[in-house]
């Protein structure tokens, strides 16, 4: 257990020390929130759907959790290439413990980042429907964080170099975000798109967050939670398996 804790703590320390990075990573969500929130707001209002800012804020929170957790997993690539990983792999500790410490560390950072973005949303004018459901929203953020930290670890263990990173960014991370319904409602969309969105785990995360924050949920929060929980196990197992295959 000591190993899990110390590797988790390492991630937290590294995160808290990279202030510039924390601020920088608030930029993108802020852009989505303000530009889309206020830019598309009037059209959305005219369509009779209420405030777009209220609608998009949970999506933006989900986005920052997604990005942070996946990138922290990919950080494994750097640990591997610059040697630190070897130090943990020759230690008398099961690889699974190392993987769990690293992945949970990444998930925790993603949670913190998500909470920061939530505060920014609040400042921008976003208001949760009920204060009582905010803890539920935080639970959904945790689920999203674990799902994608597991996926990130799987990717970080498999990638060989930084060139692959661009590939992952454009063909995996961005599609996960755009197809999740973070920016648009899921009702009345074309069938093909509807099918793809249903295959995207983040869809359920965004939907759950919306359910908890603004009381609007497409699938129902219970379904969302169950799906996320299941996917979390699958991705975590995938991450653990890829991590066990790392060759020094």
């Amino acid at each position: 257990m000591g190993a899990v804790f110390i590797l988790w703590l390492r991630q937290i320390k590294r995160y808290s020390r990279s202030r510039a990075q924390i601020v920088a990573s608030l930029g993108q969500p802020l852009l989505y929130l303000l530009v889309l929130g206020f830019g598309l707001g009037p059209v959305y209002q005219q369509a009779g759907r209420g405030s777009y800012l209220q609608f998009v804020a949970p999506g933006v929170v989900a986005m920052s959790v997604l990005f942070t957790s996946i990138f922290s997993g990919i950080g494994l690539l750097w640990d591997r290439q610059f040697g630190f990983l070897k130090e943990t792999l020759v230690a008398p500790v099961p690889r699974l413990h190392i993987m769990i410490g690293h992945t949970l560390g990444g998930a925790t950072i993603a949670m913190i980042q998500g909470l920061l973005v939530l505060v920014v949303c609040f400042i921008a004018g976003f208001r949760p429907e009920h204060v009582s459901t905010v803890p539920l929203a935080i639970l959904f953020m945790a689920l999203i964080a674990v799902v994608f930290a597991g996926l990130g670890t799987a990717i970080g263990s498999t990638l060989q170099n930084m060139q692959g990173f661009q590939l992952i960014m454009n063909f995996l991370v961005m599609p996960i975000f755009f197809l999740s319904g973070a920016l648009f409602p899921l009702n009345n969309i074309p069938t093909a798109l509807a099918i793809v969105t249903k295959l995207d785990p983040l869809t359920y995360g965004v939907d759950g967050l919306r359910g908890a924050f603004i009381g609007v949920s497409h699938f129902g929060m219970m379904t969302d939670a169950v799906v996320l929980f299941g996917v979390a196990w699958i991705f975590f197992a995938l991450g653990a398996w890829s991590f066990s295959k790392i060759q020094v």
Binding site: L7, R17, Q81, G83, L85, Q247
Partner: protein, 261 residues
């Protein structure tokens, strides 16, 4: 302390290590010399549980790395060819992390961290981030870390690569001191013949995955009828230059170097 019998490691069609056998006695300093790509690092990786041998057997302090990897890992410290510290953590935090991974009790960990950091002249810098350290300081910290959990064996894979003569000299003085006081067996590889000559009691020369000669520096010189260990080495391994292909990690390092500028 270390016993290797007919070790073989093949990567695809390439035989990186081809039937290597040797014994390292307890408390001894044993040097493994060879040109680039001779199989030194692969041998160390097999001895330290990072690679499984294709065939052959290994005993570390009487234990088999295949069946008892964790027991074996607890018994050795290792300094890799390339750095394995976390630059975003301080010197002391790097030692803390290592101590926790090796389950060194907190009190002992603090005592030994202080003793080792003082010995390697890093105590003043204990709270500085490792990324601000020079190459020599990083090396010293890594060796200090390798000793933290009181290992029975210390593996040093080209520990003095890229260091100036002062740092090299100081580093070996410390390693010899700890070899003496803590009775640690040291297994090292190096390209600097004078170092091997100076610190190692016994030397094995490996080429193309095979051990071509082993014995004390004196024996090797006598065997080849040469004046210095360097001449003996060249007599045994020839003077052709070996080129290694660059792997992904070399490319990454190049990339980082270019990027930092």
């Amino acid at each position: 302390m270390i016993h290797a019998q007919d070790l073989v490691k093949t990567f695809g069609t390439v035989k990186a290590v081809d039937g290597v056998s040797f014994d390292v006695r307890e408390g001894e300093i044993f040097a493994f010399l060879g040109p680039n790509g001779a199989g030194k690092t692969t041998t160390i990786q097999m001895l330290t549980t990072l690679q499984a041998p294709t065939s052959g057997s290994i005993r570390i302090d009487g234990l088999d790395p295949k069946t008892q990897p964790h027991e074996v890992r607890r018994r050795f410290g290792i300094v890799f060819q390339d750095p394995s510290l976390d630059g975003e953590l301080t010197a002391l935090e790097n030692l803390e992390l290592h101590g926790v991974l090796y389950r060194v009790p907190r009190k002992l960990r603090l005592e030994r961290s202080e003793m080792l950091l003082k010995l390697f002249e890093l105590w003043e810098k204990r709270d500085a981030f490792v990324k601000t350290f020079s190459g020599g300081m990083k090396r010293r910290l890594e060796i200090a870390r390798g000793f933290l959990h009181t290992p029975r064996i210390l593996f040093l894979d080209e520990p003095t690569l890229g260091l100036d003569p002062q740092s090299r000299n100081q580093l070996w003085t410390h390693v010899k001191y700890l070899n003496d006081t803590e009775k640690v067996t040291v297994f090292l590889t190096t390209h600097y013949m004078d170092e091997a000559d100076r610190v190692a009691q016994r030397i094995a020369i490996i080429d193309h995955g095979k051990i071509v000669a082993q014995g004390s520096s004196k024996e090797l010189k006598e065997q080849t009828g040469t004046e210095s260990l360097e001449q003996a080495f060249l007599a045994l391994t020839g003077s052709t230059i070996r080129d290694e292909t660059a792997g992904a990690s070399d490319q990454m390092r190049q990339f980082m170097k270019a990027w930092r500028r």
